[in-house]
């Protein structure tokens, strides 16, 4: 059986990240985050948004959903997962991006503290601002806590609307899991969902990986998602 890490790629490929499949309970602060993201792209909100939150809260999902949303409006967007781009020359990678309508930087922490990257991001920030373009940034920490050495960059990061993406509580995680299951055509009842949430690591990425495994197994064995089946499949 594949490991969850490998599966996670499959999951993100299959379930395209959209605002609709991001579980944000009504009236929650995460719902505000989605509204802020929508308004940003619609041109009604701030030009610069900074999202932060613990691993697994869905920062990457939100950034990609916002990219899709922008593309649907025929905007030119570039999404950059900085964690995977640390080996590149920042000047070259970021050059000229202010010509686009929007730039999304995911995983800012990966390059924080690197002088060349910080300088290049500082220049990109200024260029985007001068050109009136949109910038969306995500990191696990608030700009204050992030290890940014260049004070000029740090204060600019503090200039935008900074929104914390909150982790879901266990009830909401259960709901999110049930909804994702429904979207994939699986029937996952409350009892079973609660069983899963209480027994596996409760990071949303991990939970969806488990769901993915259950999806495959239930298709292969033509079984419904019952507690005994879940127990056996996930080896709980």
């Amino acid at each position: 059986m594949s490991t969850p890490q490998q599966l996670s790629l499959g999951v993100s490929l299959k379930d395209d990240a959209t605002f609709d499949n991001f579980y944000a309970p009504e009236g929650s602060s995460n719902e505000q985050v989605i509204r802020a993201l929508r308004e940003q792209v619609e041109g009604a909100g701030e030009h610069f948004l900074y999202l932060w939150g613990a691993s697994g809260v869905g920062l990457t999902h939100l950034l990609q959903a916002s990219c899709h949303n922008a593309e649907a409006r025929r905007m030119a967007v570039q999404y950059l997962p900085l964690r995977e781009l640390t080996g590149f020359a920042p000047e070259a990678l970021l050059d000229g991006l202010e010509e686009l309508d929007m730039v999304c930087l995911d995983g800012l922490e990966a390059v924080a503290g690197n002088p060349a990257w910080e300088r290049a991001l500082f220049n990109l920030y200024n260029a985007l601002r001068d050109a009136g373009r949109l910038l969306l940034v995500a990191a696990p920490q608030n700009p204050r806590e992030l290890n940014i050495q260049l004070a000029d960059l740090r204060s600019r990061l503090q200039w935008g609307v900074i929104l914390k993406v909150q982790p879901l509580d266990d009830t909401d995680k259960q709901q999110a899991l049930m909804r994702r299951a429904r979207e994939r055509g699986m029937e996952l009842n409350e009892e079973v969902a609660s069983y899963i949430v209480q027994r596996v690591p409760r990071d949303m990425n991990q939970l969806f990986c488990y769901l993915h495994r259950l999806d495959h197994a239930s298709l292969a064995e033509q079984r419904k998602l019952t507690i005994p089946f879940v127990k056996k499949t996930l080896g709980l």
Binding site: Q32, R73, G132
Partner: protein, 471 residues
Amino acid sequence: MSSLREELPSQQFNTWIRPLKIDEEAEADRLRLLAPNRFVCDWVCEKFLERITELAKHYQDGPEFSIEVGVGARTAPRTSRPAPSPAAPVRQSHTSNVGANSERPVAPPPAPKPAPSPAPETDSGVEGGLKHKDNLNRGFTFNSFVEGKSNQLGLAAARQVSENPGGAYNPLFIYGGVGLGKTHLMQAVGNALINKNPNAKVIYLHSERFVADMVKALQLNAINDFKRYYRSVDALLIDDIQFFAGKERSQEEFFHTFNSLLEGGQQIILTCDRYPKEINGLEERLKSRFGWGLTVAVEPPELEMRVAILMKKAAQVAVDLPHDAAFFIAQRIRSNVRELEGALKRVIASAHFTGRPIDVELVREALKDLLALQDKQVSIENIQRVVGEYYKIKIGDMLSKRRSRSVARPRQVAMALAKQLTNHSLPEIGDAFGGRDHTTVLHACRKIKELEEEDADIREDLKNLLRSLTT
């Protein structure tokens, strides 16, 4: 595209393939893909072009056609979005698969170009760099600038310069920490000059831009155009001059530009994050010249001014911000004006989403993550440690019964800061300082407040300590 999507991990797909646009103006026998910049273009060619070509052949039964990748952001004129300027597509075909190289000239073409017209354009919305562009933000005016004790000297100097450019205050050198309004002041002068004389040729730019433009000019053998351009201005405003550090060729060029402007009685305004003499990696001759005119400092804004800034910002966007709510924000956000503005934007967003009016309660909720962070950062232990290091005394001494002045004064400073920066009660603070009574804490706070008014050294100490504890 959907085939590639299944083949590639989603991160790779999202990063490299998704941003590609089809150039709709290319001829029918060609499929031209546009990448957002040179780098993405090179990368796609190197890693994916072969596969894209294969797939295209697979799906296309018709006549042979070629695929190429170029650089360009726009595929078709877009009218739906009120973007500031629909910049023309920058076209540059891919010629070889060279890797990352930041030295190579990249699109778009370099901005500096001599502006021969006697009446230069000052339209900041025109892109493309062929016309003179002042780069000024029209919102940065003297009217929108909030005056306070910490910046009044800078403001007075800037006003003087705007009334008498090229006069005694040349260059005007404004220095201070980040986010304190240096750029605003500088641009206010530029805007005032243009208001007074719409034909005035004013250029604002960041020092990194000056360097980048110069590098491009050198590569394109256009350095003489570059020189002529920058020497022809009435006022040259360069921001964050500290970024010139270590760039000798740029310093050399700037040195000559600087001299030429000064001789011609053209105004120069520079900003920097520190005093000229303290800029490491800058030539001595530049440092000394920077001091020839007037050097003024802007300091972090005091509480009243932070409140005033918030009120003004809120008024600008027609948001009703009660004074007590502004006060609440200003008390808690001390580091710089950008963070203050960011916090206000966050509060306005919350009010907007919840439909509630802004009051202290809403502010508390909107900023709770930020404030929690602050509470966490500024603990009594933290204050004791920072104060101890500052005065070079041991924590043990601070908590001891010793009453010699060299220990007692720092202890009082630490107590006063603990009261100011934490939510602990006075008895709790007393406890944390070796089990002292809360009246001792109270006495310390009064004493320090008194000293702050009459003793410049203590005032300076407090300012430094506050800054290192809250930023």
